[in-house]
Symmetry: C2
DNA sequence: CGCCCATTTGACAGCTTTCAAATCGCGTGG
DNA sequence: CCACGCGATTTGAAAGCTGTCAAATGGGCG
Protein backbone atom coordinates (compact mmCIF):
# COMPACT_ATOMS: atom_id res chain seq x y z
CA UNK A 1 0.00 0.00 0.00
CA UNK A 2 2.90 2.29 0.68
CA UNK A 3 4.04 2.39 -2.90
CA UNK A 4 0.86 3.99 -4.16
CA UNK A 5 2.36 7.03 -2.58
CA UNK A 6 3.75 7.54 -6.05
CA UNK A 7 1.14 8.18 -8.67
CA UNK A 8 3.26 10.83 -10.23
CA UNK A 9 6.75 9.36 -10.51
CA UNK A 10 8.23 6.11 -11.58
CA UNK A 11 10.23 3.97 -9.21
CA UNK A 12 12.34 0.89 -9.76
CA UNK A 13 11.44 -2.33 -7.95
CA UNK A 14 14.41 -1.79 -5.65
CA UNK A 15 13.19 1.66 -4.76
CA UNK A 16 9.78 0.28 -3.95
CA UNK A 17 11.31 -2.41 -1.82
CA UNK A 18 13.35 0.17 0.07
CA UNK A 19 10.23 2.21 0.73
CA UNK A 20 8.34 -0.84 1.88
CA UNK A 21 11.21 -1.76 4.14
CA UNK A 22 11.05 1.52 6.01
CA UNK A 23 10.54 0.88 9.68
CA UNK A 24 7.13 2.12 10.74
CA UNK A 25 4.41 1.58 13.25
CA UNK A 26 0.71 1.96 12.68
CA UNK A 27 -1.12 4.56 14.71
CA UNK A 28 -4.85 5.09 15.01
CA UNK A 29 -6.56 8.43 15.51
CA UNK A 30 -10.04 9.12 16.83
CA UNK A 31 -12.31 11.43 14.84
CA UNK A 32 -11.03 14.92 15.55
CA UNK A 33 -7.70 13.60 16.82
CA UNK A 34 -4.70 15.89 16.38
CA UNK A 35 -1.95 14.57 14.15
CA UNK A 36 0.08 17.76 14.25
CA UNK A 37 -0.50 21.00 16.10
CA UNK A 38 0.62 24.34 14.75
CA UNK A 39 3.93 25.40 16.24
CA UNK A 40 5.01 21.90 17.17
CA UNK A 41 8.23 20.19 16.18
CA UNK A 42 7.96 16.57 15.12
CA UNK A 43 10.30 13.65 14.53
CA UNK A 44 8.18 11.66 12.16
CA UNK A 45 5.68 11.95 9.37
CA UNK A 46 2.55 9.96 8.72
CA UNK A 47 1.42 8.04 5.69
CA UNK A 48 -2.36 7.84 5.73
CA UNK A 49 -3.55 4.26 5.38
CA UNK A 50 -7.28 4.83 5.74
CA UNK A 51 -9.63 7.67 6.57
CA UNK A 52 -9.35 11.37 5.89
CA UNK A 53 -7.37 14.19 7.48
CA UNK A 54 -7.23 17.92 6.87
CA UNK A 55 -4.65 20.61 7.37
CA UNK A 56 -5.91 23.90 8.72
CA UNK A 57 -4.90 27.24 10.14
CA UNK A 58 -6.65 29.49 12.61
CA UNK A 59 -6.72 33.22 11.90
CA UNK A 60 -6.71 35.85 14.60
CA UNK A 61 -10.47 36.42 14.76
CA UNK A 62 -10.96 32.73 15.49
CA UNK A 63 -11.95 31.75 11.97
CA UNK A 64 -10.61 28.49 10.64
CA UNK A 65 -9.33 27.82 7.14
CA UNK A 66 -8.86 24.29 5.92
CA UNK A 67 -6.00 24.35 3.41
CA UNK A 68 -6.06 20.76 2.21
CA UNK A 69 -7.71 17.40 2.61
CA UNK A 70 -5.75 14.15 2.44
CA UNK A 71 -6.59 10.52 2.18
CA UNK A 72 -5.15 7.06 1.66
CA UNK A 73 -1.64 7.16 0.27
CA UNK A 74 -0.87 10.75 1.22
CA UNK A 75 2.19 11.57 3.24
CA UNK A 76 1.50 14.36 5.71
CA UNK A 77 3.85 16.37 7.86
CA UNK A 78 6.73 15.87 5.49
CA UNK A 79 7.37 19.55 6.24
CA UNK A 80 8.41 18.55 9.72
CA UNK A 81 11.45 16.79 8.28
CA UNK A 82 13.03 19.95 6.92
CA UNK A 83 11.34 22.83 8.73
CA UNK A 84 11.72 23.53 12.40
CA UNK A 85 8.10 24.03 13.34
CA UNK A 86 4.70 23.28 11.86
CA UNK A 87 2.95 26.26 10.28
CA UNK A 88 -0.44 24.56 10.46
CA UNK A 89 -2.34 21.84 12.29
CA UNK A 90 -3.41 18.47 10.96
CA UNK A 91 -6.49 16.78 12.30
CA UNK A 92 -8.31 13.51 11.64
CA UNK A 93 -11.72 13.94 10.03
CA UNK A 94 -12.95 10.52 11.04
CA UNK A 95 -11.19 7.42 12.29
CA UNK A 96 -7.77 7.35 10.72
CA UNK A 97 -5.01 4.79 10.45
CA UNK A 98 -1.56 6.07 9.64
CA UNK A 99 1.92 4.62 9.31
CA UNK A 100 4.42 6.58 11.36
CA UNK A 101 7.74 6.98 9.60
CA UNK A 102 10.74 8.66 11.16
CA UNK A 103 12.02 11.74 9.39
CA UNK A 104 15.59 10.58 9.69
CA UNK A 105 14.88 7.28 7.98
CA UNK A 106 12.87 8.88 5.24
CA UNK A 107 15.44 11.57 4.55
CA UNK A 108 18.29 9.15 4.41
CA UNK A 109 16.38 7.06 1.92
CA UNK A 110 15.55 10.16 -0.12
CA UNK A 111 19.18 11.15 -0.35
CA UNK A 112 20.56 7.70 -1.01
CA UNK A 113 18.07 6.80 -3.73
CA UNK A 114 17.63 9.58 -6.25
CA UNK A 115 14.39 8.17 -7.62
CA UNK A 116 12.87 8.17 -4.15
CA UNK A 117 14.09 11.68 -3.44
CA UNK A 118 12.73 12.79 -6.74
CA UNK A 119 9.35 11.21 -6.06
CA UNK A 120 9.08 12.83 -2.65
CA UNK A 121 10.19 16.20 -3.93
CA UNK A 122 7.67 15.93 -6.75
CA UNK A 123 5.03 15.17 -4.18
CA UNK A 124 5.75 18.42 -2.36
CA UNK A 125 5.63 20.33 -5.65
CA UNK A 126 2.22 18.88 -6.41
CA UNK A 127 1.07 19.82 -2.94
CA UNK A 128 2.14 23.37 -3.68
CA UNK A 129 0.32 23.29 -7.00
CA UNK A 130 -2.88 22.22 -5.28
CA UNK A 131 -2.44 25.02 -2.77
CA UNK A 132 -2.17 27.48 -5.65
CA UNK A 133 -5.39 26.23 -7.13
CA UNK A 134 -7.04 26.68 -3.75
CA UNK A 135 -5.81 30.26 -3.54
CA UNK A 136 -7.45 30.89 -6.91
CA UNK A 137 -10.55 28.99 -5.81
CA UNK A 138 -11.24 31.00 -2.67
CA UNK A 139 -9.90 34.22 -4.16
CA UNK A 140 -11.61 34.40 -7.51
CA UNK A 141 -14.62 32.11 -7.70
CA UNK A 142 -18.10 32.67 -6.30
CA UNK A 143 -19.68 30.28 -3.82
CA UNK A 144 -21.28 28.08 -6.48
CA UNK A 145 -18.09 27.58 -8.44
CA UNK A 146 -16.01 27.12 -5.33
CA UNK A 147 -18.13 24.27 -4.09
CA UNK A 148 -18.38 22.69 -7.51
CA UNK A 149 -14.61 22.88 -7.79
CA UNK A 150 -14.05 21.24 -4.43
CA UNK A 151 -16.37 18.41 -5.43
CA UNK A 152 -14.67 17.89 -8.79
CA UNK A 153 -11.27 17.84 -7.15
CA UNK A 154 -12.32 15.29 -4.55
CA UNK A 155 -13.92 13.12 -7.20
CA UNK A 156 -10.73 12.99 -9.24
CA UNK A 157 -8.41 12.57 -6.25
CA UNK A 158 -10.44 9.79 -4.71
CA UNK A 159 -10.65 8.08 -8.06
CA UNK A 160 -6.87 8.31 -8.35
CA UNK A 161 -6.49 6.90 -4.85
CA UNK A 162 -8.91 4.17 -5.81
CA UNK A 163 -11.48 4.98 -3.20
CA UNK A 164 -15.04 4.88 -4.41
CA UNK A 165 -16.05 5.59 -7.96
CA UNK A 166 -15.49 8.89 -9.67
CA UNK A 167 -19.12 9.84 -9.76
CA UNK A 168 -19.97 8.68 -6.27
CA UNK A 169 -17.56 9.29 -3.47
CA UNK A 170 -17.34 9.77 0.24
CA UNK A 171 -17.28 13.35 1.45
CA UNK A 172 -15.94 13.16 4.95
CA UNK A 173 -16.58 16.83 5.76
CA UNK A 174 -19.52 18.35 7.58
CA UNK A 175 -21.05 21.36 5.87
CA UNK A 176 -19.31 23.51 8.45
CA UNK A 177 -15.97 21.99 7.43
CA UNK A 178 -16.73 22.41 3.74
CA UNK A 179 -17.32 26.06 4.59
CA UNK A 180 -13.92 26.25 6.29
CA UNK A 181 -12.31 24.77 3.18
CA UNK A 182 -13.98 27.18 0.79
CA UNK A 183 -13.91 30.37 2.83
CA UNK A 184 -17.69 30.47 3.17
CA UNK A 185 -20.10 30.01 6.07
CA UNK A 186 -21.90 26.81 6.93
CA UNK A 187 -25.26 28.37 6.25
CA UNK A 188 -24.32 29.44 2.77
CA UNK A 189 -22.75 26.09 1.93
CA UNK A 190 -26.03 24.48 2.82
CA UNK A 191 -27.98 26.76 0.52
CA UNK A 192 -25.63 26.38 -2.42
CA UNK A 193 -25.39 22.61 -2.05
CA UNK A 194 -29.14 22.39 -2.06
CA UNK A 195 -29.37 24.51 -5.17
CA UNK A 196 -26.76 22.36 -6.94
CA UNK A 197 -28.77 19.27 -6.18
CA UNK A 198 -32.07 20.90 -7.13
CA UNK A 199 -30.55 21.69 -10.50
CA UNK A 200 -29.62 18.05 -10.89
CA UNK A 201 -25.84 18.50 -10.87
CA UNK A 202 -25.28 16.39 -7.79
CA UNK A 203 -27.15 14.07 -5.47
CA UNK A 204 -26.56 14.01 -1.77
CA UNK A 205 -26.56 10.96 0.45
CA UNK A 206 -25.90 11.06 4.19
CA UNK A 207 -22.16 11.54 3.96
CA UNK A 208 -21.37 11.04 0.31
CA UNK A 209 -21.95 12.76 -2.99
CA UNK A 210 -22.98 11.50 -6.40
CA UNK A 211 -22.06 13.65 -9.33
CA UNK A 212 -25.13 13.42 -11.53
CA UNK A 213 -23.85 15.62 -14.33
CA UNK A 214 -20.07 15.77 -14.53
CA UNK A 215 -19.96 18.00 -17.60
CA UNK A 216 -22.15 20.66 -16.09
CA UNK A 217 -20.52 20.51 -12.69
CA UNK A 218 -17.04 20.81 -14.15
CA UNK A 219 -18.21 23.68 -16.26
CA UNK A 220 -19.70 25.52 -13.27
CA UNK A 221 -16.45 24.89 -11.41
CA UNK A 222 -14.20 25.86 -14.29
CA UNK A 223 -12.43 22.64 -13.39
CA UNK A 224 -9.40 21.25 -15.17
CA UNK A 225 -7.31 18.53 -13.56
CA UNK A 226 -4.03 19.83 -14.97
CA UNK A 227 -2.96 21.24 -11.64
CA UNK A 228 -3.16 17.81 -10.01
CA UNK A 229 -0.28 16.65 -12.20
CA UNK A 230 -1.47 13.09 -12.39
CA UNK A 231 0.75 11.02 -14.66
CA UNK A 232 -0.42 10.69 -18.25
CA UNK A 233 -1.48 7.05 -18.18
CA UNK A 234 -3.20 7.58 -14.85
CA UNK A 235 -4.85 10.74 -16.04
CA UNK A 236 -6.20 9.11 -19.15
CA UNK A 237 -7.53 6.17 -17.24
CA UNK A 238 -9.03 8.42 -14.62
CA UNK A 239 -10.60 10.94 -16.99
CA UNK A 240 -11.93 8.27 -19.25
CA UNK A 241 -13.40 6.43 -16.39
CA UNK A 242 -15.04 9.57 -15.01
CA UNK A 243 -16.55 10.40 -18.35
CA UNK A 244 -17.68 6.89 -19.14
CA UNK A 245 -19.43 6.52 -15.88
CA UNK A 246 -20.85 9.97 -16.22
CA UNK A 247 -22.35 9.21 -19.59
CA UNK A 248 -23.56 5.82 -18.46
CA UNK A 249 -25.37 7.59 -15.68
CA UNK A 250 -27.28 9.77 -18.07
CA UNK B 1 24.45 36.83 -5.33
CA UNK B 2 23.31 33.34 -6.15
CA UNK B 3 24.01 31.95 -2.75
CA UNK B 4 21.56 34.17 -0.96
CA UNK B 5 19.07 31.77 -2.45
CA UNK B 6 19.46 30.00 0.85
CA UNK B 7 18.22 31.95 3.82
CA UNK B 8 16.72 28.87 5.34
CA UNK B 9 19.38 26.18 5.12
CA UNK B 10 23.08 25.97 5.77
CA UNK B 11 25.51 25.11 3.01
CA UNK B 12 29.19 24.29 3.08
CA UNK B 13 31.62 26.49 1.13
CA UNK B 14 31.95 23.71 -1.45
CA UNK B 15 28.20 23.60 -1.92
CA UNK B 16 28.13 27.33 -2.45
CA UNK B 17 30.95 27.08 -4.92
CA UNK B 18 29.11 24.38 -6.83
CA UNK B 19 25.99 26.54 -7.00
CA UNK B 20 28.00 29.52 -8.15
CA UNK B 21 29.67 27.39 -10.78
CA UNK B 22 26.35 26.43 -12.37
CA UNK B 23 26.34 27.43 -15.99
CA UNK B 24 23.82 30.16 -16.55
CA UNK B 25 23.03 33.07 -18.76
CA UNK B 26 21.38 36.31 -17.78
CA UNK B 27 18.09 37.16 -19.38
CA UNK B 28 16.19 40.42 -19.23
CA UNK B 29 12.42 40.79 -19.26
CA UNK B 30 10.34 43.82 -20.13
CA UNK B 31 7.61 44.90 -17.73
CA UNK B 32 4.78 42.45 -18.31
CA UNK B 33 7.08 39.97 -20.02
CA UNK B 34 6.12 36.31 -19.74
CA UNK B 35 8.61 34.11 -17.95
CA UNK B 36 6.40 31.04 -18.03
CA UNK B 37 2.98 30.49 -19.55
CA UNK B 38 0.45 28.11 -18.08
CA UNK B 39 0.53 24.76 -19.85
CA UNK B 40 4.06 25.15 -21.15
CA UNK B 41 6.94 22.76 -20.67
CA UNK B 42 10.29 24.29 -19.87
CA UNK B 43 13.90 23.19 -19.78
CA UNK B 44 15.25 25.73 -17.35
CA UNK B 45 14.38 27.71 -14.28
CA UNK B 46 15.13 31.29 -13.45
CA UNK B 47 16.83 32.83 -10.45
CA UNK B 48 15.62 36.40 -10.08
CA UNK B 49 18.53 38.83 -9.90
CA UNK B 50 16.59 42.07 -9.78
CA UNK B 51 13.01 43.24 -10.12
CA UNK B 52 9.78 41.53 -9.18
CA UNK B 53 7.73 38.76 -10.76
CA UNK B 54 4.39 37.18 -9.88
CA UNK B 55 2.80 33.82 -10.47
CA UNK B 56 -0.84 33.85 -11.42
CA UNK B 57 -3.72 31.75 -12.68
CA UNK B 58 -6.72 32.69 -14.77
CA UNK B 59 -10.11 31.31 -13.78
CA UNK B 60 -12.82 30.50 -16.23
CA UNK B 61 -14.76 33.76 -15.95
CA UNK B 62 -11.61 35.65 -16.89
CA UNK B 63 -10.65 36.70 -13.37
CA UNK B 64 -7.03 36.59 -12.46
CA UNK B 65 -5.54 35.41 -9.17
CA UNK B 66 -1.97 36.20 -8.28
CA UNK B 67 -0.69 33.37 -6.12
CA UNK B 68 2.73 34.67 -5.19
CA UNK B 69 5.20 37.50 -5.65
CA UNK B 70 8.91 36.90 -5.96
CA UNK B 71 11.98 39.03 -5.88
CA UNK B 72 15.77 38.96 -5.79
CA UNK B 73 17.13 35.58 -4.80
CA UNK B 74 13.99 33.58 -5.56
CA UNK B 75 14.12 30.60 -7.84
CA UNK B 76 11.01 30.37 -9.98
CA UNK B 77 9.77 27.61 -12.23
CA UNK B 78 11.58 24.97 -10.26
CA UNK B 79 8.32 23.04 -10.78
CA UNK B 80 9.26 22.71 -14.43
CA UNK B 81 12.15 20.48 -13.48
CA UNK B 82 9.97 17.74 -12.07
CA UNK B 83 6.49 18.34 -13.43
CA UNK B 84 5.58 17.99 -17.05
CA UNK B 85 3.66 21.22 -17.55
CA UNK B 86 3.26 24.53 -15.76
CA UNK B 87 0.06 24.90 -13.77
CA UNK B 88 0.37 28.69 -13.70
CA UNK B 89 1.97 31.59 -15.50
CA UNK B 90 4.85 33.75 -14.34
CA UNK B 91 5.11 37.32 -15.44
CA UNK B 92 7.53 40.20 -14.84
CA UNK B 93 6.06 43.06 -12.83
CA UNK B 94 8.66 45.56 -13.97
CA UNK B 95 12.02 45.20 -15.63
CA UNK B 96 13.51 41.94 -14.46
CA UNK B 97 16.92 40.34 -14.72
CA UNK B 98 17.11 36.62 -14.18
CA UNK B 99 19.75 33.94 -14.36
CA UNK B 100 18.63 31.04 -16.53
CA UNK B 101 19.69 27.69 -15.12
CA UNK B 102 19.08 24.42 -16.87
CA UNK B 103 16.91 21.95 -15.03
CA UNK B 104 19.25 19.10 -15.83
CA UNK B 105 22.22 20.89 -14.30
CA UNK B 106 20.32 21.93 -11.23
CA UNK B 107 18.86 18.48 -10.63
CA UNK B 108 22.17 16.76 -11.01
CA UNK B 109 23.66 19.14 -8.47
CA UNK B 110 20.73 18.57 -6.13
CA UNK B 111 21.17 14.82 -6.24
CA UNK B 112 24.95 14.81 -6.00
CA UNK B 113 25.17 17.25 -3.10
CA UNK B 114 22.71 16.40 -0.34
CA UNK B 115 22.97 19.83 1.28
CA UNK B 116 22.03 21.48 -1.98
CA UNK B 117 19.17 19.08 -2.54
CA UNK B 118 18.00 19.68 0.96
CA UNK B 119 18.15 23.43 0.54
CA UNK B 120 16.16 23.34 -2.69
CA UNK B 121 13.62 20.95 -1.27
CA UNK B 122 13.26 23.16 1.78
CA UNK B 123 12.68 26.07 -0.53
CA UNK B 124 9.74 24.32 -2.17
CA UNK B 125 8.32 23.46 1.25
CA UNK B 126 8.49 27.11 2.28
CA UNK B 127 6.80 28.07 -0.95
CA UNK B 128 4.00 25.68 -0.07
CA UNK B 129 3.78 27.15 3.42
CA UNK B 130 3.39 30.64 1.99
CA UNK B 131 0.70 29.36 -0.34
CA UNK B 132 -1.16 27.96 2.67
CA UNK B 133 -1.02 31.29 4.41
CA UNK B 134 -2.44 32.90 1.28
CA UNK B 135 -5.31 30.43 1.21
CA UNK B 136 -6.11 31.46 4.77
CA UNK B 137 -5.62 35.11 3.88
CA UNK B 138 -8.09 35.22 1.01
CA UNK B 139 -10.39 32.65 2.58
CA UNK B 140 -10.84 33.91 6.08
CA UNK B 141 -9.80 37.54 6.44
CA UNK B 142 -11.75 40.64 5.50
CA UNK B 143 -10.41 43.18 3.03
CA UNK B 144 -8.68 45.30 5.67
CA UNK B 145 -6.81 42.41 7.23
CA UNK B 146 -5.95 40.89 3.86
CA UNK B 147 -4.26 44.01 2.66
CA UNK B 148 -2.51 44.58 5.96
CA UNK B 149 -1.27 41.01 5.83
CA UNK B 150 0.08 41.37 2.32
CA UNK B 151 1.97 44.50 3.36
CA UNK B 152 3.45 42.89 6.46
CA UNK B 153 4.55 39.89 4.43
CA UNK B 154 6.23 42.01 1.80
CA UNK B 155 7.94 44.11 4.44
CA UNK B 156 9.46 41.05 6.10
CA UNK B 157 10.37 39.30 2.84
CA UNK B 158 12.01 42.33 1.33
CA UNK B 159 13.90 42.92 4.54
CA UNK B 160 15.11 39.32 4.43
CA UNK B 161 16.15 39.76 0.80
CA UNK B 162 17.90 42.96 1.83
CA UNK B 163 15.91 45.22 -0.42
CA UNK B 164 14.81 48.44 1.18
CA UNK B 165 14.18 48.87 4.85
CA UNK B 166 11.55 46.96 6.73
CA UNK B 167 9.32 49.94 7.27
CA UNK B 168 9.70 51.43 3.84
CA UNK B 169 9.72 49.17 0.83
CA UNK B 170 8.94 49.07 -2.82
CA UNK B 171 5.52 47.78 -3.76
CA UNK B 172 5.79 46.85 -7.41
CA UNK B 173 2.09 46.12 -7.84
CA UNK B 174 -0.61 48.39 -9.19
CA UNK B 175 -3.76 48.53 -7.10
CA UNK B 176 -5.39 46.33 -9.69
CA UNK B 177 -2.65 43.75 -9.16
CA UNK B 178 -2.90 44.01 -5.40
CA UNK B 179 -6.57 43.24 -5.90
CA UNK B 180 -5.68 40.16 -7.93
CA UNK B 181 -3.38 39.03 -5.16
CA UNK B 182 -5.96 39.45 -2.42
CA UNK B 183 -9.10 38.32 -4.19
CA UNK B 184 -10.62 41.81 -4.12
CA UNK B 185 -11.38 44.42 -6.77
CA UNK B 186 -9.20 47.37 -7.64
CA UNK B 187 -11.82 49.82 -6.49
CA UNK B 188 -12.08 48.26 -3.07
CA UNK B 189 -8.32 48.02 -2.66
CA UNK B 190 -8.15 51.73 -3.28
CA UNK B 191 -10.71 52.48 -0.61
CA UNK B 192 -9.15 50.25 2.02
CA UNK B 193 -5.63 51.48 1.34
CA UNK B 194 -6.81 55.04 1.74
CA UNK B 195 -8.50 54.20 5.00
CA UNK B 196 -5.35 52.49 6.30
CA UNK B 197 -3.31 55.56 5.53
CA UNK B 198 -5.95 57.93 6.98
CA UNK B 199 -5.74 55.96 10.20
CA UNK B 200 -1.99 56.45 10.22
CA UNK B 201 -1.01 52.80 9.82
CA UNK B 202 0.81 53.32 6.53
CA UNK B 203 1.99 56.08 4.27
CA UNK B 204 1.85 55.84 0.51
CA UNK B 205 4.41 57.13 -1.92
CA UNK B 206 4.15 56.77 -5.70
CA UNK B 207 5.11 53.10 -5.84
CA UNK B 208 6.28 52.32 -2.33
CA UNK B 209 4.84 51.97 1.13
CA UNK B 210 6.01 53.13 4.52
CA UNK B 211 4.67 51.26 7.48
CA UNK B 212 4.00 54.00 9.99
CA UNK B 213 2.76 51.79 12.80
CA UNK B 214 4.02 48.23 12.57
CA UNK B 215 2.36 47.07 15.78
CA UNK B 216 -1.08 48.18 14.72
CA UNK B 217 -0.72 46.99 11.16
CA UNK B 218 0.46 43.56 12.25
CA UNK B 219 -2.40 43.40 14.70
CA UNK B 220 -4.96 44.30 12.03
CA UNK B 221 -3.38 41.67 9.78
CA UNK B 222 -3.13 39.02 12.45
CA UNK B 223 0.39 38.66 11.12
CA UNK B 224 2.99 36.26 12.45
CA UNK B 225 6.09 35.49 10.43
CA UNK B 226 6.25 31.86 11.55
CA UNK B 227 4.99 30.59 8.22
CA UNK B 228 7.90 32.19 6.38
CA UNK B 229 10.27 29.80 8.14
CA UNK B 230 13.13 32.25 8.19
CA UNK B 231 16.12 30.81 10.03
CA UNK B 232 16.37 31.75 13.70
CA UNK B 233 19.33 34.10 13.48
CA UNK B 234 17.88 35.72 10.39
CA UNK B 235 14.46 36.00 11.95
CA UNK B 236 15.78 37.62 15.09
CA UNK B 237 17.82 40.10 13.14
CA UNK B 238 14.92 40.84 10.87
CA UNK B 239 12.27 41.17 13.54
CA UNK B 240 14.49 43.25 15.77
CA UNK B 241 15.33 45.50 12.95
CA UNK B 242 11.69 45.93 11.97
CA UNK B 243 10.70 46.77 15.50
CA UNK B 244 13.62 49.08 16.15
CA UNK B 245 12.96 51.06 13.08
CA UNK B 246 9.28 51.06 13.82
CA UNK B 247 9.80 52.52 17.27
CA UNK B 248 12.38 54.97 16.01
CA UNK B 249 9.81 56.14 13.57
CA UNK B 250 7.33 56.98 16.28
C1' DC C 1 1.25 69.40 -24.86
C1' DG C 2 -1.57 65.41 -25.21
C1' DC C 3 -2.59 60.58 -24.61
C1' DC C 4 -2.99 56.55 -21.83
C1' DC C 5 -3.12 54.13 -17.78
C1' DA C 6 -3.57 54.19 -12.81
C1' DT C 7 -5.90 56.16 -9.08
C1' DT C 8 -10.15 58.16 -6.91
C1' DT C 9 -14.78 58.79 -5.82
C1' DG C 10 -19.94 58.15 -5.72
C1' DA C 11 -24.14 55.62 -5.95
C1' DC C 12 -26.27 51.33 -6.04
C1' DA C 13 -26.84 46.34 -6.44
C1' DG C 14 -25.93 41.83 -4.75
C1' DC C 15 -23.73 37.95 -2.84
C1' DT C 16 -22.70 36.31 1.76
C1' DT C 17 -22.91 36.75 6.41
C1' DT C 18 -25.24 37.05 10.76
C1' DC C 19 -28.59 35.77 14.05
C1' DA C 20 -32.25 32.71 15.37
C1' DA C 21 -35.09 29.03 15.44
C1' DA C 22 -36.91 24.70 13.70
C1' DT C 23 -36.04 20.05 12.05
C1' DC C 24 -33.46 15.98 11.27
C1' DG C 25 -30.28 12.13 12.23
C1' DC C 26 -28.34 9.06 15.10
C1' DG C 27 -26.04 7.02 19.11
C1' DT C 28 -27.19 6.27 24.01
C1' DG C 29 -29.80 4.89 27.89
C1' DG C 30 -34.06 3.22 29.87
C1' DC D 1 -37.79 -1.30 21.18
C1' DC D 2 -38.60 3.44 22.11
C1' DA D 3 -37.45 8.01 24.26
C1' DC D 4 -33.87 11.39 24.87
C1' DG D 5 -30.18 14.57 23.66
C1' DC D 6 -26.71 16.63 21.08
C1' DG D 7 -24.71 17.93 16.85
C1' DA D 8 -25.60 18.65 11.97
C1' DT D 9 -28.67 20.35 8.65
C1' DT D 10 -32.33 23.64 7.07
C1' DT D 11 -34.71 27.77 6.60
C1' DG D 12 -36.03 32.75 7.11
C1' DA D 13 -35.24 37.59 7.52
C1' DA D 14 -32.22 41.40 7.69
C1' DA D 15 -27.66 43.67 7.65
C1' DG D 16 -23.21 44.45 5.58
C1' DC D 17 -19.14 44.08 3.08
C1' DT D 18 -17.57 44.07 -1.45
C1' DG D 19 -18.53 44.34 -6.31
C1' DT D 20 -20.22 46.84 -10.39
C1' DC D 21 -20.71 50.73 -13.26
C1' DA D 22 -19.39 55.28 -14.48
C1' DA D 23 -17.07 59.32 -14.47
C1' DA D 24 -13.53 62.49 -12.81
C1' DT D 25 -8.78 63.30 -11.55
C1' DG D 26 -3.88 62.66 -11.74
C1' DG D 27 0.67 61.38 -13.37
C1' DG D 28 4.17 59.76 -16.59
C1' DC D 29 5.97 59.36 -21.20
C1' DG D 30 6.50 60.37 -26.22
Amino acid sequence: MIQKLELRSSLSPEDRAALLALPHSVRRFEPGGWIVREGETSRSCQLILSGFVCRHKIVSDGGRQIVSVHTRGDLVDLEGALLSHADHSIQALGSVEAAVISHAELLSLAFSRPAVGRALWTDTLVDASIHREWVANVGRRDARSRLAHLLCEQAVLQQAAEIGTPIEFHLPLTQEQIADATGLTGVHVNRVLRSLSEEGLIERQKKSITIADWQSLASVAGFSDDYLHIQPEEAVRSRKSVQERASNAE
